[in-house]
Symmetry: C2
Subunit: 354 residues, 2 copies
C-alpha cells in the first residue's frame, strides 16, 4: 500500500550528480520530465530495467510496460530483479524476460538504468551496486519518501501505482495501447490499490482502469490469476492464525501469530497480507501479525486505521508507511508480544497526554 | 454476485396484466422504459419502495437512490423491506427511512410499488402480498432470470448493479448528482461486483464508479464502512472453518464446514461469503461450505470457476447462479457431504462422457 492517500499530482524533479554528491532540485511539470525521459530513450541504446526486491504486481507491471516502450523504439534492454519473480506472477505477459541477479553476467555496457517503484536505490538489493558509475539512472516512482536517487526523477506521489506513471509516459510517446499493456497496467493498479479498496483509489485510478478494460484487460480474469492461485496451505495457515486472535491493551490492539512449527506443517503457505484480515474487526485501532520465520526470529506486520505504525515499527528497528509497517524481532513469542505492546502502550499514553 | 458476466446492455420490457394473467412482451430501448417510469413518477403520488429479503448493499443503495428521486419530485413514499436492514448497513445515508414488514401498518393507499433488485416478486417476502391488487408494479433489476412480474419492467442484465440502473434513471430526470447519491451508487457497485473483483466488472462499471468519486464518494471510507466493521467472532469462525479444509473426488472439489457448536461459540459470526475464501485455492473446480444453522439443518453454499453449480444446487432443492448457488440439506455432516459429492460425481462423470 503506497503512502499516498490523495489523487492530486505532486511532482518534483531532482537532478542529482552522483559523482560529487551535488544535488540540484527544481520543480517542473510532468510534461518536461516525460520529455526528458523520452529524449534519453531516443539517444540511449543499452538499458537495464529493475525494481525493488520481493517485487509485487505493480513493480513487475511497471517493468514490463517500460520494456514494451523500449521495444517500440527498438532499443535493447535487460530486465533484472535481485531475487527474480515470485511464481504467482508467472501469468503476466512477457514475464519470462525478467531475470534474477544471478543471470546478470556483465553490466558494464549499460548506459541507462531505469529503476521503477523503488523508494531508494538500496531497495533494488544487489542490482544497485551493479549499475556502472558511468550509467545514467532514471527513477520513476510514486512513494512519498522516494530519496530521488536518479539523474532524472519522475516521482508522482498522487499516482496510485507506478504502472500508471509508466503508462502515461508510454501514451505520451504516441504508442498504441495494446491488450498486453492494458492487462499489465490494470494488474499494477489492482495490486497497489488492494483492488480499489485502499484510500489511494481516486477517480483517476478508476478512469485509467476503465480505459484498460476498453483496451482489452479482462478484470475478472486478472483478479482470478492474482487471487485464486493459492496453495491450500495458505488458507490453512490463515485458519490457524485466525483461531489465535487475541485482544490487548483494553481491546485497543488485536493480534495473532504463526509459529515455525505451523509453517513446517504448511510449507507452501504465502502469509503476505494475513495481517489485513485483522483490519476487518471493528474496534481495535492497531493490528499486528507475528510470523516466526526462523526459530526465535519473528517478522512483525503492523496495521492501523488511525495510528502512525511507521513510528512504532521505527522504534522496533523497522519501518514502512503510516498505516502499514513492519519490523523483525528476535526472542520467544511472549517477549516479542511484550516489546510490541510496550511500544504501543507508550504511544497510546503519549496520545492521551496530548 | 449477479449472474450477468458481460457488460453489453440487453433490455426487454414486459407489460403484464396481473388481473387476467395476460402477458404482452415487447422489446424496447432503455430510453422508452425510463420515459415510462418518469411518466409514472409524475402522475403517481403514493409510492411503496421495496427489495428482496436479506437485503445487500446494492438493493439498499437502489432503494435509497429511488427514494431520493421521489423526494426530488415531492412525492410521498414508504420504504419497506420484509426483514428490515442488517446492522452492518447502518452507515448508508438515509437508511433510517427503511422500515421492516412489521412497521407497514396499512398498504391500501399505495398506487405504485417500485420493486428493486428482486428477480421475482416472491423475493420480497411478505411485502409482495401486501401490494394492493389495484397498485401498479415497477420492476427494476439486473438479474438474468428476472420473472418480469411488473406492469413496467426495466431489466438490464448487462448492468453490474441495480444501483447503476436507478442512477441512470435519476440522471435522465436531470437531477443533480449529490454526494449522498454518489456514495449510495458507489456502495451498490462495490457490493455487487465484490469490489470490482467479479467477472461482471466492465469498463462502464469503472467509469460510473469514477463519476461517483468525482461527485463526492470516498472509496476508502466506503470500503472501510463495508468491510472493517466485523465482530472478531466472524474472523474466529472463519479460522475454524479454514482449519477444516478437505479435498474430495481426486482434488476436484474442496470443502469446509461449521457446526452448530462452533456457531454457539461465536454467536456474532457473519458467515456470509466464507465459501469465497475456498475459491482462492488453485486446482479444485468446485468449492462448498456447509453451515449447520440448526442441529441437523445445513445451509450449503456452492461455488465454481467453470461448472454450473446452479444445476447442482437445483438437484439438491436449491438454486442460484451458474457460478454461485446454494441449498439447504438436513441430516448429519457425513450425510450432507455424501449428497453433495454424489451430485458432483454424477455431473463430473456426465462431463467426461460428453
Amino acid at each position: 500500500m503506497p503512502g499516498s492517500t490523495g489523487c492530486s499530482l505532486k511532482l518534483r524533479e531532482t537532478v542529482l550528480n552522483r559523482k560529487n554528491g551535488e544535488t540540484k532540485v527544481r520543480s517542473s511539470d510532468p510534461v518536461s520530465v516525460h520529455d526528458e525521459i523520452k529524449a534519453i530513450i531516443k539517444k540511449e541504446d543499452r538499458f537495464l530495467i529493475t525494481t525493488h526486491v520481493r517485487p509485487d504486481g505493480d513493480s513487475l507491471a511497471s517493468v514490463l510496460v517500460f520494456a514494451g516502450l523500449l521495444d517500440a523504439f527498438r532499443k535493447s534492454c535487460r530486465i533484472c530483479i535481485d531475487d527474480g519473480v515470485p511464481r504467482k506472477y508467472d501469468f503476466l505477459p512477457g514475464i519470462e524476460r525478467v531475470k534474477s541477479f544471478d543471470d546478470l553476467p556483465d553490466s558494464s555496457g549499460i548506459g541507462t538504468a531505469v529503476v521503477l517503484d523503488a523508494s531508494g536505490l538500496e531497495r533494488t538489493g544487489r542490482i544497485g551496486d551493479r549499475i556502472p558509475e558511468t550509467a545514467r539512472i532514471v527513477n520513476i516512482d510514486h512513494h512519498e519518501g522516494n530519496s530521488r536517487f536518479g539523474e532524472v526523477n519522475c516521482i508522482l506521489t498522487g499516482s496510485s501505482s507506478t504502472a500508471e506513471i509508466v503508462y502515461d509516459l508510454y501514451r505520451r510517446c504516441d504508442l498504441p495501447l495494446t491488450p498486453e499493456v492494458a492487462r499489465l497496467v490494470y494488474t499494477g493498479i489492482v495490486c497497489d490499490t488492494g483492488c480499489f479498496r485502499f484510500a489511494n483509489t481516486g477517480a483517476q485510478t478508476l478512469e485509467t482502469a476503465a480505459e484498460m478494460v476498453r483496451a482489452g484487460a479482462d478484470p475478472g480474469k486478472i483478479i482470478h490469476d492474482l487471487q485464486n492461485r493459492h496453495s491450500a496451505h495458505t488458507l490453512q495457515a490463515l485458519g490457524h492464525a485466525l483461531t489465535r486472535i487475541r485482544f490487548f491493551l483494553d481491546d485497543a490492539v488485536v493480534g495473532m501469530h504463526l509459529t515455525c512449527q505451523d509453517l513446517k506443517q504448511f510449507p507452501e503457505a504465502d502469509t503476505e497480507g494475513f495481517v489485513n484480515y485483522l483490519r476487518m474487526i471493528e474496534g481495535p485501532s492497531v493490528q499486528f501479525f507475528i510470523n516466526e520465520v526462523q526459530p526465535g526470529r519473528h517478522r512483525v506486520s503492523l496495521r492501523s486505521h488511525e495510528k502512525d505504525v511507521n513510528q512504532i515499527a521505527g522504534r522496533l528497528g523497522g519501518g514502512g508507511h503510516a498505516r502499514a509497517a513492519g519490523c523483525d524481532i528476535t526472542g520467544n513469542l511472549e517477549q516479542v508480544q511484550d516489546r510490541i505492546l510496550g511500544c504501543l502502550s507508550a504511544v497510546f499514553k503519549a496520545g492521551r497526554a496530548d
